[in-house]
């Protein structure tokens, strides 16, 4: 059964790559073919993701659906299982798999209206998605890094070619920062594999080495910052976050969705996989520092968002703020806090994807993102406003939407371990209300600016896409246990996580 389910993971991983390969042979003029094809692939992936999430058993071994295809072993310094395509999911990656499925499908639908080189866009898009799935599924350090990079690299082209405002700058900055972070990870990977001395990149083997002290605590303390800074760049760790506002500002809509929705989570996921699980002693030593950075990020992002004038900058800073919550949750090393971090990854993923979708829908018509240009948009775009309000309220942490579920767990964990920082985090949530409502007031309400009389509401495709994301937010907000149950076992089995 487990093995058979492993093939589901292989399928989810291979399908986007296959799609990219097939699209190569579709003529660039056949845009509709590329779109329909991509939509079908997206739908299948969504189905597979939902299956992975639902089929994940809340009880039993946290690692499920494992599958191992050896690649290189017993060569040179590599012993048995040296490098193997070892796939599997735990509670956290199951949740993030679901997130990827949802956001990728929504993004595909949004990319529908792209006219310029649509086929090429989808090729890169699917490569990126394959990288994301691969990172979540990989239980082998080599492939983990391989897929991590595979997800990052297409971004440069996606933003550089299809982006808007200062796209070269944004793309270049983003790519350089992320690749710079990868260097740190790469160094850390070699240090860990060397220290573990098992001649294997297999993650469970390495985890065991990290936990039984084969990788000495001193060494862990040295290696840990390499991983955390490397992954932290992608996770929007303050002060390495500045690619986020600019990157988001220049990225095309569906890339923003996938990027803010899913890619940023790769960073936080990396901190769990490589930091907490691989280097428990290092994690214990460094987590207070991460907590401080996370809290600064949460407050800083929220405060900076208060006075931004551009939609995307608000969302960019709000992402910094929310990813700050994720880091706080992880840094608590408390079972509820870490669960909260995982929930927040999902919550922020769908929420921010929705926000970028909506910003894109507006920008495509209005060609400006300056808040003060708008006013009374609710009159002409009611659906759009409702969706945006939902996203904003989730952002603010209103109960009944996913944001509250996640933030509540983070706060509880933080209060158990570092009450003062918990209080500061809650304060950031209050500031979030201020910047969200400010934007609502300026843009959605008030008298209608006659310049925007002609704005059209969400198209059917956008509506479907937005509805899917809102549904996800509501699901997590209203019914917690399917999510928390799946996380509980995994989180309690993480080394160093207290109750």
């Amino acid at each position: 059964m487990d093995e058979a389910q492993g093939y589901v993971l292989v399928t989810a991983l291979a399908l986007p790559l296959l799609a990219a390969g097939v699209l190569l042979f579709v003529p660039g003029t056949q845009k509709m073919t590329a779109r329909y094809f991509s939509a079908v692939i997206g739908a299948i992936l969504l189905g597979l993701s939902v299956y992975v999430f639902l089929a994940y058993q809340a009880s039993g071994d946290p690692l499920q659906m494992q599958l191992r295809w050896p690649w290189i072993e017993n060569v040179g310094f590599l012993a048995e299982n040296g490098i193997s395509l070892h796939l599997g999911v735990d509670g956290i990656s199951a949740l993030l798999t679901l997130l990827t499925g949802v956001v990728a499908f929504a993004g595909t639908l949004i990319a529908w209206k792209l006219e310029y080189r649509a086929k090429d866009f989808f090729i890169l898009f699917w490569i990126l998605i394959a990288g994301v799935y691969g990172t979540f599924f990989s239980l082998d350090l080599f492939f983990f890094f391989f897929f991590y990079e595979l997800a990052v690299v297409p971004l440069y082209l996606l933003i550089g070619i299809w982006g808007s405002t200062r796209k070269e700058y944004g793309a270049m900055k983003l790519t350089l920062m992320l690749v710079g972070g990868s260097v740190g990870i790469w160094i850390g990977i070699f240090a860990v594999v060397h220290q573990a001395g098992a001649g294997s990149f297999d993650l469970p083997t390495l985890w065991a080495a990290g936990q039984d002290g084969t990788i000495t605590p001193d060494m862990q303390k040295i290696i840990f910052p390499f991983f955390v800074v490397g992954c932290g760049v992608l996770a929007g760790l303050w002060p390495l976050h500045t690619w986020s506002p600019d990157g988001h500002m220049s990225a095309p809509t569906s890339v923003s969705m996938v990027h803010a929705g899913v890619l940023m989570k790769l960073g936080a996921f990396g901190i769990i996989r490589l930091g907490i699980q691989l280097l428990p002693d290092g994690a214990e030593f460094w987590m207070p520092a991460l907590l401080v950075l996370g809290t600064i990020g949460a407050l800083y992002g929220a405060i900076a968002a208060l006075t931004q004038r551009d939609f995307k900058l608000i969302s960019g800073y709000s992402s910094v703020s929310h990813m700050g919550y994720v880091l706080i949750g992880l840094a608590t090393l408390h079972e509820v806090g870490v669960s909260g971090a995982a929930l927040q990854m999902f919550s922020h993923g769908v929420m921010t994807a929705l926000v970028f979708l909506l910003i894109g829908a507006l920008y495509d018509q209005a060609h400006t993102r300056d808040l003060s240009d708008f006013g009374g948009v609710a009159k002409v775009m009611p659906l759009w406003v409702i969706a945006y309000v939902m996203a904003g309220l989730a952002n603010v942490g209103l109960p009944g939407l996913s944001g509250f579920t996640a933030e509540f767990h983070i706060f509880v964990g933080a209060f158990r371990t570092y009450p003062v920082f918990g209080g500061l985090a809650i304060l950031a949530a209050a500031i979030a209300a201020a910047y969200m409502l400010r934007m609502f007031g300026v843009v959605f309400f008030g008298p209608l600016n006659p310049r925007w009389k002609e704005l059209k509401d969400l198209s059917p495709l956008e509506t479907v896409s937005a509805a899917l994301l809102i549904l996800s937010m509501l699901a997590m907000g209203l019914w917690w246990s399917p999510f928390t149950d799946r996380l509980a076992n995994t989180v309690t089995s993480l080394p160093g996580v207290i109750s």
Binding site: L176, W243, D246, Y300, F415, I426, A434, F444, D485
Partner: protein
């Protein structure tokens, strides 16, 4: 039935979903569905009440909960707990909700987004019922936020008006600041006791689970939440502005139900407050200050809804004072009676607004008595109840509060008496200026007419309740209706106490009423303003201060504009220039510059390269020799 009281919340919840999805397409935009829903929960309430009383005091509170989520040791249950305090709240909510729903059919006729208004109204009712039914603080917080959201949506109903949007925003953010405190308090409780269940928390605290200082701090955080929601000083600023919403909304949310959630919360947690050192004193001081402050500000308001709003803030202060004195029954009783007569007053104001075609400045009204007799009569009853005329509802509950405060030292009693005089004073002013005298604006008066029965009916019903609600305090009245006795024998903290009329206090209350009312009447009778402008002319600075609400709004505006936003600009600037331009782009520039410098090593001349190679060969050879030997 009582253990399934959650149905009460479920019904309007479902109604909300249906109306939000299809309301626009239903016949009459679904207002009948709203009224039907309100009637259903009104009826269901009586079923619950009957069952509750049948089960008897030994089985209270009636609880029913399910496991919600669990992570390791962290378990969370969701459920309901029904006790007398809850029953009082249910009575208030269901009754006022029904009245307001009916009234709204008339009031909102022809307004934009008619269906949406009713849908959100149902959302509010559902969340408010959830709030009072919750057996744990987390569910309470969830409902707490949802009522805040409904309030936000309803205040901003006329979102084409900039002022409405601003008011909605202000309400949401101000209460949110309090909510931060509440959430911190809730988590601190969990931290100490490992549970969110209110009864279990109480037990744990009684067993000394939390140290003294810590408990006090926790209770202050909880109180912060209550103050935010109940618009206590210094969080009161949002409530007067919330009058931008449709008037029935003001009646339901900003007079009868949502704003008393803070009072409810304190009453609910009163056993814990009692153990928390000086926490109750803080509650009392906050209540007193609020009661006095808003009583004064109400003098200078000219908008009838604003007067009522400050009056509400003031009366909420009264309730806090009662709770601060440790008398849950007094506070809850005032909450109970106040809900009826204040809802009546607001609906009456709504009727005036409709009758005069959207005029609510007292300067343009006056003499409405003749044009709108039913409204005027019911408004008078409400005013008298508010001012505390024997034996209307407000009299008995205010009497209870004075009685409660009696034991707390003379200063509190004295100050509260002054607040009571002020209540009577501004109420008299409001009624006289609106309904008596000659019309000040003929234009307005000529269009004025009595409102339709769909609006007067709720007024009459509420007027009736304003008269009789006070009698619940009597043992015989309660027993006759099947209660264990009078109000304070039904709702109590430690032990039931039957009510006895204290004629001395009754006399004092009456004196307070008379002084206040006649003071107001003397100043404003017959539409004259000469006496009342004396103060303004005598001390213009003081008058302006009162009129500007003691500069609270200006102060907050300054804080937000200069301090908060200024800090935000600073952070944004720092992010752009220090972090991004200097840190990130700077390192890129450094790399580029290093390359610019180093590129000069690349001369393009072959001999130079050859030289480098030769030097390298020699150096490497020497090094390897040195290392080798």
């Amino acid at each position: 039935m009582a253990e399934h009281a959650w149905i009460l919340a479920a019904v309007p919840g479902i109604a909300f979903i249906v109306m939000a999805a299809f309301g626009r397409n239903l016949p009459r935009q679904g207002d009948w569905l709203a009224v039907l829903c309100a009637t259903a929960i009104f009826a269901l309430f009586f079923a619950v009440l009957a069952n509750f009383l049948n089960l008897g005091g030994d089985s209270w509170p009636i609880q029913n909960s399910i496991e919600w989520t669990a992570i390791g040791d962290f378990e969370l249950n969701m459920g309901i707990a029904v006790d007398p305090i809850t029953m009082v709240m249910l009575a208030v909510i269901t009754t006022v909700a029904l009245m307001v729903n009916i009234f709204s059919v008339g009031y909102m006729k022809g307004e934009p987004r008619y269906w949406w208004y009713f849908a959100v109204l149902q959302l509010f009712v559902a969340s408010m019922l959830m709030l009072v039914l919750a057996d744990n603080l987390l569910l309470l917080y969830v409902a707490w936020e949802l009522v805040g959201l409904s309030s936000f949506l309803l205040i901003g109903h006329y979102w084409e008006r900039r002022s409405a949007v601003e008011a909605a925003k202000k309400a949401f953010i101000t209460t949110r600041v309090g909510d931060v405190g509440l959430l911190i308090g809730i988590i601190l409780f969990w931290e100490a006791t490992g549970t969110f269940n209110i009864l279990e928390i109480t037990e744990h605290v009684k067993n000394g689970a939390i140290g003294d200082t810590r408990l006090f701090v926790t209770m202050m955080f909880i109180l912060l939440g209550a103050m935010g929601k109940s618009a206590q000083l210094p969080f009161h600023v949002w409530l007067p502005d919330a009058m931008e919403g449709p008037t029935p909304v003001s009646a339901l949310i900003h007079a009868a139900t949502m704003v008393v959630a803070g009072v409810y919360l304190v009453a609910r947690m009163l056993p814990v407050f009692e153990l928390a050192g000086d926490a109750l004193t803080v509650v009392m001081v906050v209540g007193l200050l609020t009661a006095l402050f808003s009583g004064v500000v109400a003098f200078a308001q000219t908008d009838i809804k604003k007067v009522l709003a400050y009056s509400t803030v003031s009366q909420l202060g009264f309730m806090f004072v009662a709770l601060g004195a440790g008398y849950a029954s007094a506070g809850m009783f005032h909450l109970f009676t106040h809900a009826f007569f204040k809802a009546l007053l607001f609906l009456g104001a709504g009727a005036v607004i409709i009758g005069t075609h959207h005029h609510q400045e007292m300067g343009q009204l006056g003499g409405l008595w003749r044009k709108m007799p039913i409204t005027a009569a019911t408004f008078l009853i409400g005013s008298l109840a508010l001012a505390g005329l024997f034996p209307l509802a407000g009299f008995w509950s205010k009497d209870e509060i004075l009685h409660a405060v009696e034991g707390q030292g003379t200063w509190a009693f004295f100050l509260l008496s002054i607040a009571a005089i002020m209540t009577a004073f501004y109420t008299a002013r409001l009624f006289i200026r609106t309904f008596l005298g000659k019309p000040r604006d003929e234009e307005v008066a000529s269009h004025t007419s009595e409102v339709s029965p769909v609006m007067t009916l709720p007024l009459v019903f509420l007027a009736f309740m304003s008269i009789v609600a006070g009698f619940f305090i009597f043992h015989d009245f309660g027993s006759a209706l099947g209660f264990p006795g009078g109000f304070s024998e039904f709702v109590f903290l430690h032990y039931p106490s039957a009510f006895h009329v204290d004629w001395g206090l009754v006399g004092l209350s009456t004196v307070l009423f008379v002084v206040g009312t006649f003071g107001g009447a003397w100043l404003y009778w017959n539409g004259r303003l000469d006496r009342s402008t004396v103060l303004a002319e005598w001390q213009p600075k003081v008058y302006e201060m009162v009129q500007r609400k003691f500069y609270f709004d200006d102060l907050y505006q300054f804080l937000i504009d200069r301090v908060v936003l200024g800090f935000s600009y600073l952070v944004s600037w720092f992010d752009r220039f220090a972090v991004n331009d200097t840190g990130v782009d700077g390192s890129a520039t450094m790399t580029g510059y290093t390359g610019f410098v180093l590129k000069h090593l690349q001369t393009g001349k072959v001999p130079n390269y050859a030289m480098a190679i030769a030097v390298g060969v020699v150096a490497l050879t020497l090094i390897s020799l040195a290392v080798g030997s």
